[in-house]
Symmetry: C2
DNA sequence: CTCATCAAACCGACTAGACGGTATGATCGC
DNA sequence: GCGATCATACCGTCTAGTCGGTTTGATGAG
C-alpha cells in the first residue's frame, strides 16, 4: 500500500523539470510534459509550486545558495590571496561541473523569469561577485595580482570560464572534473599574476 | 535603380526581430510584435520568411559568415603563430562587441532552432573552431605555446570570453571595445604562452 | 497615350491547437 | 469530519501560420 509510494512529489517534479529544461529548453517544455516525466499529475504539481516560473526559480535557488555557502566557507578559512583565490576558483569550477544541467538552464533561461525574480537572481549573483572582487583586490593591494587591467575585466575573464563549461565540457570526455578545474584555474591565475 | 530602393521589408523585419529577441527573448516575442515593430504586416513578413525559426536563423547566418570570412582573411595573411593568434583574438572580440545583440540572441536561443538548423550552426562553428585550433597547434609545434594542457581546454578558455561578452560588457561603460579586446587577448596570450 | 494583362508583393481576418492555470471534488490519515 | 494531498475535467488566452483577396507596377499592344 502506502509504504512503497513515499516518493516526494516536489523532488520528482524538480528533477524532471531540470532534465527537460536543460535538454529541450524552458519555453519548449510544457507543464504537462514535466508532470508526465515525474509520474505525477498537474494537480499534485500545482499543490507544491505556484507556477512554471516557480519551478525554474527553485532550480536557481538551489544552485545560488550552494555556491554562496561554499564561497563563504572558503573565504572564512583565510590565507594568502593567491591561495584563497585558487581554492575558490577550483571549487566553483568543480561545483559547476557537478551541476552542469543546472548551469545550462541557468544561463539560458534567466530572462524567462518574472522581472521580480530576475532582480533577486541578479542581487544574489552580485553578492557572490563582490566577495570574489574583494579577494582580487586584496591580492592587488598585496602586490601579487596585476592592476593594469580593470578588475571588472579580470573578474569577467574568470566567470566566462564558469559559464562556458556547459557549452563544451562532457562528463564522458577524457578529462575529469578535477583536472579541468585545476587546468582552468592555472590558466586564470597565470594571467592575473603580476609579472616579476 | 539600386540607390533609391524603397525600404526593404526583409531588412526591417530582421532588424526588429534582432532588437526584440535580444531584449525579450525569442520565446517571449510574438510574430505580431515583430511585424508591428517593423511597421509591416504579417502577410508581408511571411512572404519573405517561411517561419519565425527562419528569422532567428537569418540572424545567425549573418554573424557566422562574417566572422568566418574575417578569420580566413587574417590566417591568409600568414605570420608567426603568436601574432596570427593575437590578430584573430582581437578581431573576434571586437566583432563580437560590435554585434553584441546578435551574440545575446545567439547564445541564448540556438536550442530553439529546428534540429536540422542546429546541426548547420554546429557545423559552421566547428569550421571556425578547427581553423582556430590549427593556429594553436602550429604555435605548439613551434614551441611558443604550452602543450601541457589539452588544446580543447585552451580553446574553450578563449571562446568563453567571447561568449561572455554579452553578459557583462556595456558599450556605455568606461572601456572602449578596442581596449577590452586588447586586454582580454593579453590575458589569454599570457596564459597559453610557454614559460621560458 | 490608354488600357488590358499578369505576376509579385502585400494585407489581415481567421483558424486550429497548445498551453498555463484553475475549479471541483475524491481519498485518506488523524 | 477536517485539513492536506492529490486527480480530472475544463477554461480562457495566446500564437504561429494560412488563405482568399487586393494593390502595385512592369510590359506591351493598339
Amino acid at each position: 500500500m502506502g509504504a512503497m509510494r513515499t516518493k516526494n512529489v516536489a523532488d520528482e517534479v524538480t528533477r524532471a523539470a531540470l532534465d527537460l529544461f536543460s535538454t529541450r529548453g524552458y519555453a519548449n517544455t510544457s507543464v504537462q510534459q514535466i508532470v508526465e516525466a515525474a509520474g505525477v499529475t498537474k494537480g499534485a504539481m500545482y499543490h507544491y509550486f505556484t507556477s512554471k516560473d516557480d519551478l525554474l526559480f527553485a532550480i536557481y535557488e538551489r544552485m545560488l545558495s550552494l555556491q554562496k555557502s561554499r564561497l563563504d566557507e572558503i573565504t572564512a578559512r583565510g590565507g594568502a590571496p593567491e591561495e584563497v583565490l585558487r581554492a575558490v576558483c577550483v571549487d566553483v569550477l568543480e561545483t559547476s561541473i557537478e551541476f552542469l544541467p543546472e548551469g545550462t538552464v541557468f544561463f539560458r533561461s534567466v530572462h524567462m523569469l518574472s522581472e521580480e525574480r530576475q532582480k533577486e537572481v541578479t542581487r544574489r549573483r552580485r553578492e557572490y561577485n563582490d566577495e570574489f572582487a574583494t579577494i582580487i583586490e586584496r591580492g592587488q593591494a598585496a602586490g601579487v595580482f596585476r592592476d593594469d587591467v580593470p578588475t571588472a575585466v579580470l573578474i569577467a575573464h574568470f566567470f566566462s570560464d564558469v559559464h562556458y563549461l556547459s557549452h563544451w565540457y562532457r562528463p564522458e570526455g577524457p578529462e575529469t572534473k578535477t583536472e579541468v578545474a585545476q587546468q582552468v584555474t592555472d590558466l586564470f591565475l597565470r594571467s592575473i599574476r603580476k609579472e616579476t
